[in-house]
């Protein structure tokens, strides 16, 4: 298949599919009222995502044939699938397809089920587009499209007070961030007279105060979505109140899409200042510490996982910081590797927690949070889910031979390669934080296997095979990439190459 045709379909299919999924689902729901039968919207969404995945393969074959990737022109607008765009598309589609599968029983018979699938498809489409944008304005536009779809998904349980509050908080903070990015884009345009990445990069060589301000605004603005520490307060609420499939998407890929947008925009300002790399390293250290300390104090499982996302963003920031501050290729490759592994690991953790939440609470019609005490002895009633959950948290904690260890290791190696004292101290700090994180991951496993099952667990419902299948696939992938990490090297090193080409090095 022609790579350009495939690329057009990769961009177009999810966006064109969104209204069709909604209309089909809505019309079907009107015909059938509130019956429990399967709404076809989910199958259409799944079909569209799988088809997009197949086309991504063909587009990827074309995009990897040459370092510049493949480009599409629509009038004055260019979309390029380079290594970074391909990497983001592969990650989001892999997680998105599994989340859609998982949501089949989870969202069954919820009011507005068709909206869920339509918005999920739109969000995935927007993230794919975000990776392929070639100018700042389109980057921002795709970023906003992703954000708008995610607001409604976070506040999906619209008659739950906590869910609406979380959605509102997310909306206000994220919109403020987007406004700051817009201001940054305006400053960059004022200083250079162009918004295209390649032209901006050439014009950005001098330390113009306008460009410095623009870079700072990009860090703050995209930092709200990436959950840099003082700007993270929306995240625990949004992650814990969203439907579990969406928690997995938010934590696994949406905040990382914000990170990719930040890296793209800072990459073109690379020549302007040395300070970006150090800022990323500083925020990385702060995220690690605050995320871990806050996670230690949580009593709700999904909030705990949400805070652990903060610390994992910290590892990625340290990796990318090494790339920006010391031009370490391993830092960027490790950062992207960790991004991919984190999508798998945190996706699995949220899906497993969601499966338990569904079986213990939602299937019985009430939306209580899943607290740590509910996990006690859950392995006796739910052996498979408990095993997958334990595997996910141990991988997140960085135990070899699971995937999380390999990517953290690569980031740490890049820190040692710099030979700089600051970087080495930072790596030791990150490694100690990794040990600290076991302080909340290990008790989870302990509870699952050693506690006595509570009343709630003993009365819990069954977990459908539709929920189990994505968990098993993710668990296998975590083990596979743990013992054979070089499988992904081609993808991650091309993503890093895409970033370095943007930086002009």
């Amino acid at each position: 298949m022609n790579a350009n045709t495939a690329f057009t379909l990769v961009i177009g299919l999810p966006l064109l599919g969104t209204p069709i999924i909604y209309l089909l689902g809505r019309l079907w729901a009107r015909q059938n009222g509130s019956s429990n039968a399967a709404n076809p919207a989910r199958w259409l969404a799944l079909l569209i995502l799988v088809a997009t995945g197949v086309f991504t393969y063909f587009a990827g074959v074309g995009a990897t044939a040459d370092y510049a990737g493949i480009s599409l022109n629509f009038g004055g607008l260019t979309l390029t699938m380079d290594g970074l765009g391909l990497f983001l598309a592969v990650t989001v589609l892999a997680l998105g397809i599994l989340v859609t599968l998982f949501s089949v029983p989870y969202m069954q018979a919820e009011v507005g089920e068709e909206k869920f699938y339509a918005l999920l498809t739109a969000m995935i489409g927007a993230i794919i587009g975000l990776g392929c944008a070639t100018d700042l304005f389109n980057l921002w536009l795709w970023f906003e499209a992703m954000a708008v779809a995610s607001y409604f998904l976070v506040a999906f349980y619209r008659d739950q007070k906590a869910s609406l509050e979380a959605g509102w908080k997310y909306l206000v903070q994220s919109a403020t961030g987007s406004t700051l990015v817009m201001l940054g884009i305006a400053l960059a345009f004022a200083a250079t007279g162009s918004l295209r990445f390649d032209e901006l990069r050439l014009a950005a060589a001098s330390a113009d105060p306008l460009l410095l301000a623009a870079g700072a605004l990009f860090i703050i603005g995209f930092g709200v979505k990436t959950a840099l520490v003082p700007l993270h307060t929306w995240l625990p609420d949004a992650h814990s109140q969203a439907p579990s499939g969406i928690s997995a998407m938010l934590s696994g890929i949406v905040i990382e899409a914000g990170l990719v947008a930040m890296l793209r925009s800072l990459g073109i300002l690379y020549a302007t200042s040395q300070v970006w790399g150090y800022l990323l390293l500083g925020f990385g250290a702060l995220n690690l510490l605050v995320g871990n300390l806050m996670a230690l104090r949580q009593t709700q499982v999904k909030r705990l996982l949400a805070y652990s996302s903060l610390s994992h963003v910290g590892y990625m920031l340290i990796g990318f910081g090494m790339a920006f501050a010391f031009a370490m290729p391993n830092g960027a490759i490790g950062g992207f590797f960790h991004l991919f592994n984190h999508a798998l690991m945190k996706g699995l953790a949220f899906l497993a927690a969601g499966a338990l939440l569904y079986a213990l609470y939602i299937a019985k019609g009430h939306h209580g949070p899943l607290v740590l005490d509910d996990l006690n002895g859950a392995s006796k009633r739910y052996p498979l889910t408990a095993f997958c959950f334990s595997l996910a948290v141990l991988a997140l904690g960085g135990l070899p031979p699971l995937a999380g260890f390999m990517s953290k290791w690569q980031i740490f190696v890049s820190g040692f390669e710099t030979g700089s004292t600051v970087a080495i101290i930072l790596v030791i700090f990150a490694a100690l934080n990794s040990v600290l994180s076991l302080g909340y991951y290990a008790p989870l496993v302990n509870r699952l296997y050693r506690g006595q099952p509570s009343q709630t667990v003993q009365e819990g419902g069954k977990i459908s095979p539709w929920m189990a299948a994505p968990m098993v696939i993710l668990a296998l992938a975590i083990v596979l990439f743990g013992v054979w990490p070089s499988l992904l090297t081609n993808l991650t090193s091309r993503a890093a190459l895409g970033l370095f080409m943007l930086m002009g090095g």
């Binding site: 400053l187 200083a191 105060p209 306008l210």
Partner: protein
Amino acid sequence: MTTLQIVFLIIAAITLVSACLVVMTRKIMHAALWLVLSLMGVAMVYATLQSGFYAVVQVLVYIGAISTLIIFAVMMTRNVMEDVGPQSNRGWGLALVGSLILFAGTSAILLTWDKAQTVLQEIPAVNGENIQMLGLALVDPMGFLIPFEVASVLLLAALVAAIFLTADIKRSRS
């Protein structure tokens, strides 16, 4: 201070005050109406910058179309004129400090930019040539006629679909 600067200051004050009232007023209908005034202020800013075309488009699109849409949407919601309590919370002082710092920082940086020191000069009038070209391009088959018509059909379809989909909710309620 020239007359233009005085006019600009008055327009800016109107725009900012009405923009603040959009978020501070307690009744959502009043918020929608203040938004119209704020958008009108932006149109006047365009007019003082000699962008007559943008001023007209701002009035037509934002005030004529989008504001009308917002007012219709507001009228469709319940409790249009209900007083729903204070519109601010305890943190408003911090938010104000944050916005002022951002404003001061951005202004300070823009003041260092040499092009910000340029004195505004009057642009010689061009008898609306560009606008005529734009108008012709919109109805020219070799220009933008097809995208223009496709957009119209799309909007029409969206309108019909919106009515069709919301009509169903009304019926099930009654």
